[in-house]
């Protein structure tokens, strides 16, 4: 990924993309829109480019806007008919059918109650309808999706969530070297964490949240300070 990272502001015309668009088809990601024959930014942040033809604005955001295929953490809010209503941090509550769980049948319903946490994939996401989730893949297997029991749940910015989800994320690798833990990160800026003891869980939580607070440049320092968090 080339992170040229020039800052763009809403309304700014981005002629660099228009140039590329002349020779090949381009994909405009979040924060960019087409206005007649021009490409215009609608959010403020660094412009990113991924070869060969994908562009987006990597702005700071805390509010999740659902997109198809995203892996998210949600809290079950209610049972409604043959669906659960799930809060995934978007404008509307998402819905998930009883039958979108592994080995679920009309007789054998999953045992979920309001307040439970699930890790799910967004199946339908459109601005006009409420999002729909699933907890199985196309083969009907659950994989790593489904209910998350025990552990600790907290929220962060979408940017931090994405940073943790990147391949070879140095932060998680550095934390792994010190403590064993289990983690589920949703692109909706929600994290579930489980370690051996409560103290370790809280220390890891603080370390991860410190990445947001301290600025991302200081991962090593934060990881070195993990012992401080453990003692605190």
């Amino acid at each position: 990924m080339s992170s040229s990272g020039t800052i763009v502001m809403p309304g700014e015309r981005i002629s660099a993309i228009e140039e590329v668009a002349k020779s090949k088809r381009v994909i405009l990601g979040p924060g960019l829109r087409r206005l007649d024959d021009t490409v215009v930014a609608s959010k403020a942040g660094p412009l990113r480019h991924k070869e060969p033809n994908t562009f987006w604005v990597d702005n700071y955001q805390r509010r999740y806007v659902p997109a198809r295929g995203d892996l998210v953490l949600g809290i079950v809010k209610a049972k409604a008919g043959d669906q659960y209503r799930v809060d995934i941090g978007s404008a509307d509550l998402a819905s998930i059918s009883y039958l979108s769980f592994e080995a679920a049948t009309k007789k054998n319903r999953p045992d979920l109650n309001p307040g439970d946490l699930i890790y799910a994939r967004v199946l339908v996401a459109s601005a006009d309808v409420e999002p729909e989730l699933v907890c199985v893949n196309s083969n009907g297997k659950r994989g790593k999706l489904g209910q998350l029991a025990d552990g600790f749940f907290f929220k962060c910015s979408l940017n931090l969530g994405r940073v943790l989800l990147r391949e070879n994320c140095p932060a998680l690798a550095a934390l792994t070297r010190r403590l064993p833990y289990e983690i589920a990160v949703g692109v909706n800026g929600r994290i579930w964490l489980k370690a051996h003891s409560l103290r370790e869980t809280i220390a890891l939580t603080n370390a991860i949240l410190a990445l947001e607070q301290a600025g991302y440049a200081e991962i090593d320092k934060v990881c070195d300070n993990l012992e401080d968090f453990l003692q605190a």
């Binding site: 990924m1 992170s3 509010r63 404008a91 391949e167 600025g215």
Partner: protein, 237 residues
């Protein structure tokens, strides 16, 4: 408060601007913005769930609240609230999030002049950091004609006691179009035109400020992007 006094700032200059992003933890984006000694906090939430009565299928519903420093909002605050909403409505890319609500809260902390302009600017910064889609950013500038007939840009409250006329203009960042005109007092049309030019020039400075603040905020996250990029290469080596 040891904020710079307007007295030190020339009449054709804006007072010192400052901002801090996300001082509040529970909203989607917030900013504490100061212009001279005037301080406001603005917060945005959105897109969020909307009440059925306000629901619109072709655009988001915009809600704006303005809270005075003390007490409940009165008529004056309601007018200010409507002003901010009118400007925001023009700038917001409403069609991006139908069936949703965008909510903007502005809390006045200290009014030492130009509070209207300050409130509008803080709302813009909050929208920028909250990641709400905008057609353009916008900036408001306040200017008065004092009793000597001089133009004073972005005056401190102490300079406004003997004003002949007061003006607030808001401009968009793309075409420089006027989004808001508020005038009070008596003035000639030539003076109005002069002051519009003066404010337009000053708005460029505010847009520059927005950009530098956003760049500064994102500067901290640049480092990790580089780091992640380097990692795989290091592994191969």
């Amino acid at each position: 408060m040891n904020l710079p006094e307007k007295m030190d700032v020339p009449k054709d200059q804006l007072r010192q601007m400052n901002c801090e992003f996300n001082p509040l933890s529970r909203c989607d984006g917030s900013v504490m913005y100061t212009q001279g000694a005037t301080v406001v906090i603005a917060a945005v939430l959105g897109p969020i769930e909307v009440k059925t009565q306000n629901l619109s299928i072709d655009g988001s519903y915009l809600e704006c609240n303005y809270r005075p420093k003390a007490g409940l909002p009165q008529v004056k605050e309601r007018i200010r609230e409507a002003t901010i909403r009118d400007v925001l409505e023009l700038a917001l890319l409403a069609e991006a999030h139908p069936h949703a609500k965008m909510s903007v809260q502005v809390q006045e902390l200290e009014d030492r002049g130009s509070i209207d302009a300050c409130a509008v600017n803080s709302a813009c910064l909050a929208m920028l950091i909250g990641g709400l889609p905008l057609k353009f950013s916008f900036a408001a500038v306040h200017c008065i004609i004092n009793d000597q007939g001089d133009y004073v840009l972005d005056p401190d409250q102490s300079e406004t006691f003997h004003q002949r006329a007061s003006f607030t203009f808001a401009f968009d960042s793309v075409d420089g179009d006027l989004l808001l005109v508020q005038t009070k007092g008596s003035f000639k049309i030539a003076q109005f035109n002069d002051i519009e030019c003066l404010c337009r020039a000053a708005s460029a400075q505010i847009f520059q400020f927005y950009r530098s603040q956003i760049a500064k905020y994102h500067g901290r996250s640049e480092a990790i992007a580089e780091k992640v990029k380097e990692q795989p290469e290091a592994m191969e080596a």
